[in-house]
Point group: C2
Chain length 338, copies 2
């Protein structure tokens, strides 16, 4: 076993101060862009810093300044373009504000408590995304310690909660199907209170009751491919009692659609199918899958933005925010029309 890497010694603020002929306080101010530094002094400091290739140690700044200049993002332990997109929005916004991003995957099988506590010790604020091992309770206990926002998950009392529009969009989508004569829809997915899927389910209910129709069918299953296959199998065994399937996400919708097609069911003639998230695949399958585009990147950016506001004390408090979604009509719903 080799010995630990010998750390290269780098210039500190003292070296810069000495070279520029000023105090470390002045170096600190000049480099922070303080306006109360004489231009000439500032230039000398900047020149000295550059000559020494000075890079302030983040830990020292954080300790002295009581700001880590970092934001935390807790994601469910899954892959997928959806979360990647959220991360992109969050990171870009954070980096525009000079903040770095510490990312954590909350794995149900592991020590979520320890993970989140650890994160809380190294960032100025945390965004919790959707369903993850970070429970309501854990988030609530974390919140007094530092600013917290939630994204696409049940709201924590007194904390900012961000969502994409779900209920109203689901209602519109359902009304569109009803308008095309599909009056016996079923919802596929597990609607949980306050979650994205829960809200989507409510939107479907809204449309049905507004139209004076009975409640839609419900096939409760987790939003993953194999459960979609199982749901499709179940439908076939039941003799296809519905004429439209509003799926909680694309993964489910694609699995259901393919399985039904493989069994000879015609989409959309025999049954209409819709999804959510507008994944890449939705546009590539045939018929194209009607889906809902969510402003995921904007949601990520908004989270970073509100967190920054909370950290600086410039944010209005406790305002839930909902960003608009948009239906993308393709062939699978039999209502693409125009």
């Amino acid at each position: 076993m080799a010995s630990a890497r010998e750390p290269v010694v780098h210039a500190t603020i003292y070296a810069v101060a000495e070279r520029a002929g000023v105090s470390t306080a002045t170096v600190s101010r000049a480099l922070a862009g303080s306006t109360k530094v004489a231009p000439g002094t500032r230039d000398a400091v900047i020149a000295a810093a550059r000559e020494l290739d000075y890079l302030p140690t983040a830990a020292a700044s954080a300790l002295a300044g009581r700001r880590t200049r970092a934001l935390g993002l807790v994601l469910p332990h899954v892959d997928g373009a959806y979360y990647a997109e959220l991360l992109v929005g969050f990171e870009i916004e954070a980096s525009h504000r000079g903040l770095s991003v510490v990312i954590t995957l909350a794995n149900p099988r592991e020590d979520a408590e320890g993970t989140v506590r650890g994160l809380a010790s190294k960032v100025d604020g945390i965004a919790f995304m959707a369903r993850s091992a970070a429970t309501d309770d854990l988030i609530a206990r974390t919140a007094p310690r530092l600013p917290v926002v939630t994204i696409a998950r049940p709201r924590i009392p007194g904390r900012d909660a961000l969502f994409s529009e779900n209920r109203r969009t689901a209602r519109e989508l359902t009304e569109r199907l009803l308008g095309a004569g599909r009056v016996r829809p079923a919802f596929i997915g597990r609607p949980e209170r306050g979650s994205d899927l829960g809200m989507r389910h409510l939107g479907v209910l809204d449309a049905m009751s507004a139209a004076g129709l009975p409640a839609p069918g419900l096939l409760a299953c987790d939003p993953v491919e194999d459960q979609g296959v199982a749901a499709a199998e179940h439908l076939l065994s039941e003799g296809m009692p519905y004429d439209a399937l509003i799926c909680g996400n694309d993964e489910l919708a694609l699995a259901v659609m393919r399985h039904l097609q493989d069994r000879g069911v015609q989409v959309p003639d025999d049954i209409a199918i819709t999804g959510w998230d507008d994944t890449t695949t939705a546009a590539y399958v045939r018929p194209g899958l009607t889906s809902v585009v969510q402003p995921v990147r904007a949601l990520g950016a908004l989270a970073a933005q509100r967190l920054t506001g909370l950290v600086d004390g410039t944010a209005p408090d406790d305002v839930p925010t909902v960003l608009a979604s948009r239906i993308v009509h393709r062939g699978s719903c039999g209502c693409a029309g125009d």
Copy 2:
């Protein structure tokens, strides 16, 4: 504008020490799991820490301990499941080792230099993924400051470089096509020296020359959808001079395939098509797209692992590492066989 959030005061190591009736040195050791602490003492410290809900300030630990206990990951500024998967592998491995992950998207349009320098000041080591705004030069200049590894990008002299197997897999894929009678293949993508696509292109050349055949065609374009469409259009206008298209990634392959199919070309009868990355969509289109699964998650994990070794001084130096890829045969290549 509201005033800045009043920080809640939390227990420090002094409070824990006082409560446990020991010195802060002992608290520090006990909590770090040092073996040189008497069991009774350790229990008392742990109890006191729990009672006070003590959370060590990461900045203070980092400053005093000269270790941030964080790893940096620089990704190209794009979304997509591929990078998400890499991040998952990296994060899981890092978190297993008690390290957190600071993620940065290197955007060509922005200050990559400042971004990477900032990152270098807050982590113990950095992994640079693929093509990003982090140039060879920038990475080389960062490397003396802290441990660095690269992933799927041209190697930086003297630094660890990780890859998934590209050249040999490309050769196998090509040989399979040749075996199925497709002797006039073209490569679609922009092969750059030392990059994943560059290696894939070389593998195709290997197979052709080993078979005593002329070099394959080359349609140089960036690996994005619209360039795939343009390439397909070009092929049509040329009268389809090839019988197989080996595309640098799935995005390109899918765009090419769809465009050709829309123009009446039969896949694989008229032309065979293959991609790389085995995206979700590859399995959903018809015919299914033959593609190559890369060990992306494992690559991420390996990067975190080697970085940790480098930080601790326990890593063998300068060993390039290549992880195996696997071809997934589907209908599009006309060589699925069985």
